[in-house]
């Protein structure tokens, strides 16, 4: 038993270590002036995608439910946090504190949305759940497109129609302008903040998996009827995984929103949800460390290959296929287990 505990602990430490090592390497490159400005601009989005992938893996891999609406929760987190920051940017001038609060607010709102949406949709299974979550993701995005909120000397004004029906003084300032989104959010996000968010996300997800509730979540994934027969409330644990996952996606959204001058809802469409799912699947369903690596490689690769112009998508496709074989082909898995077992453990083994 202690051996098993130690292995889990070591596996977790390796995952944190990879993230920290990557951070140090990037810092070194940057201070040596070896990082292209393109890559430098990609650092925060990279962190966003890692957090998204890890949090989605909690639902897809650990809870065993196919969700295609992850971008919707990211959207909630992005807008609520950016809205908050715009409200308080003149009162709270310490950007670190302001950003910390913004992330908490983004995560909290996204978590609440996750809970509220989860209650009806988690009754569905398999393909039905996938379709309904996809729909909810799109609905959230479209609702965010509707909001016009502004502030003038008389206070706050809101409309769901357009800017002019808000009845705001001409000197008033728009905070959210419908499809044009939120502009003027201070750029509080940084690579360091992103890496910290990744570490916190990993800490929460890895520890949840390796706890009493995490075991219950996985038991329900493996056999729902047996789980009920030993007294587990299926809905409670499915909701728990879904809500935590949504909250973390909201935090990723907050990070994303504070890295952009203009935040628009159209970014949070199903393409983003599907892309996140691709990271999860290629990194290995249920394999948290795999999600981190897949998100980094598949986000950075297209940029790194830009110089190769015509061959870029070709190489990208080859990498996708190689990753798929590496993580899913039975023969390769066997070989990996034998020779690299210590370094590459699939999620299944990881949660032993």
């Amino acid at each position: 038993m202690t051996r098993m505990k130690n292995r889990k602990l070591r596996s977790n430490l390796i995952t944190y270590g990879i993230v920290i090592a990557a951070f140090i390497a990037v810092q070194a490159l940057q201070s040596a002036g070896r990082l292209s400005s393109l890559m430098a601009g990609l650092l925060v989005p990279l962190c966003v995608y890692v957090v998204l992938a890890v949090s989605l893996n909690l639902v897809v891999g650990i809870s065993g439910e196919l969700s295609l609406g992850h971008a919707g929760f990211m959207c909630v987190g992005a807008f609520t946090s950016a809205f908050f920051t715009n409200l308080v940017k003149d009162t709270i001038t310490i950007s670190g504190l302001r950003f910390f609060l913004a992330i908490l607010i983004g995560a909290a709102f996204a978590g609440i949305f996750g809970l509220l949406i989860g209650i009806p949709v988690l009754r569905l299974r398999g393909d039905y759940l996938a379709i309904v979550t996809l729909a909810f993701g799109e609905i959230i995005k479209n609702i965010m497109n509707l909001f016009y909120i502004g502030k003038d000397s008389a206070g706050y004004h809101m409309s769901l129609k357009d800017q002019f029906s808000m009845g705001m003084e001409p000197t008033g300032k728009m905070i959210i302008s419908g499809p044009m989104g939120i502009t003027g959010t201070p750029k509080d996000a940084s690579f360091l903040a992103g890496v910290i968010l990744i570490l916190v996300t990993l800490y929460i997800v890895l520890h949840l998996i390796d706890s009493r509730d995490g075991r219950a979540i996985m038991a329900i994934r493996d056999n729902r009827i047996a789980a009920e027969s030993v007294g587990l409330n299926v809905m409670k644990f499915k909701l728990m995984a879904f809500t935590v996952s949504a909250g973390l996606a909201g935090a990723a959204g907050a990070l994303y929103a504070h890295n952009l001058a203009t935040l628009q809802a159209k970014k949070f469409d199903y393409n983003t949800s599907i892309l996140t799912l691709v990271f999860v699947v290629l990194g290995g369903i249920g394999n948290i460390r795999g999600s981190v690596i897949a998100a980094v490689v598949l986000t950075a690769l297209p940029e790194m290959l830009r110089g190769l112009s015509n061959y870029r998508m070709l190489i990208y496709s080859i990498v996708l296929i190689v990753m798929m074989i590496f993580n899913w082909a039975p023969k390769v898995l066997e070989w990996r287990e034998r020779h690299l077992g210590r370094f590459f453990r699939r999620g299944r083994e990881e949660v032993m």
């Binding site: 098993m4 949840l208 996985m218 032993m352």
Partner: protein
């Protein structure tokens, strides 16, 4: 003697089929009771009714005097009924130890926050759960397999793990659905000993479905024989097994 399980007039139909019709049984504290009958007689359906997987069309189920008819599976488990499945249903992608710890879930508690942030209660409770789970695994000679994935256990051990997991919920009544299915005679004999031991050691009542007559006649004190959803015969094991009706309907030539 106090009745642990009292079932009266239990019935359910699927479409036109009366899968279980007017079933009744009274099982006393500490008894080892058998439920036998040909394929499709309705035995597993009775387990599903007793555990709330199906809601009965009619009838009353009392556990230790408490009416549990129509309650949800998880509440019935909390009231003290645990079971195994004819088609093994393990949590196959988690370890053998964790399968039993899931069974312990409702008996040891710490909050989600304690689990995530590793607050003091976490380590203590997990250690208690580990000890309890290992104790249960030992009963079934599974302690040396604690760390492997449940799906990697050989078939016979998977059946034992299901029993260990069920016992982890601390039931008053344990329902075993064909526990010896797929076992060789040696394993079956060993299982008989284990079932007896479990009854003594945990002081529980056991209702079991089994096709293996040696096991049934070896450990069951009383039996009910089911045929086409109806009780054909019931009583002391030796008497029931010599009943001409039973021999004709079930035991065959």
């Amino acid at each position: 003697m106090a009745a642990i399980l009292e079932v009266n007039n239990l019935g359910i139909s699927f479409g036109g089929l009366h899968a279980v019709d007017n079933f009744h049984v009274t099982i006393n504290q500490g008894e080892l009771y058998g439920l036998i009958g040909p394929n499709g007689a309705g035995k597993t359906t009775i387990f599903n009714l007793l555990t709330g997987v199906y809601k009965p069309d009619e009838g009353i189920i009392r556990l230790d005097g408490q009416d549990i008819t129509g309650r949800k599976t998880i509440d019935i488990n909390k009231a003290g009924v645990a079971r195994t499945f004819q088609n093994i249903r393990l949590f196959h992608q988690i370890s053998v130890l964790d399968n039993v710890k899931v069974g312990l879930h409702n008996r040891y508690s710490y909050s989600t926050v304690t689990g995530i942030f590793r607050l003091p209660g976490y380590r203590r409770t997990e250690r208690l759960m580990d000890e309890k789970a290992m104790e249960l695994l030992k009963v079934f000679d599974l302690d040396t397999s604690a760390e492997i994935l449940a799906s990697n256990l050989p078939y016979g051990k998977q059946r034992k793990l299901e029993i260990a997991r069920a016992l982890a919920t601390d039931p008053k009544l344990l329902l075993l659905d064909e526990p010896a299915a797929g076992m060789n005679p040696n394993e079956t004999a060993e299982l008989m000993e284990t079932i007896r031991f479990v009854r003594e050691h945990f002081g529980i009542t056991i209702l079991l479905i089994e096709h293996d007559m040696k096991l049934v006649s070896g450990i069951c004190e009383r039996l009910s024989v089911l045929n086409f959803g109806k009780i054909l015969c019931e009583g002391e094991t030796s008497e029931v097994l010599h009943d001409p009706e039973v021999i004709k309907a079930y035991l065959g030539e």
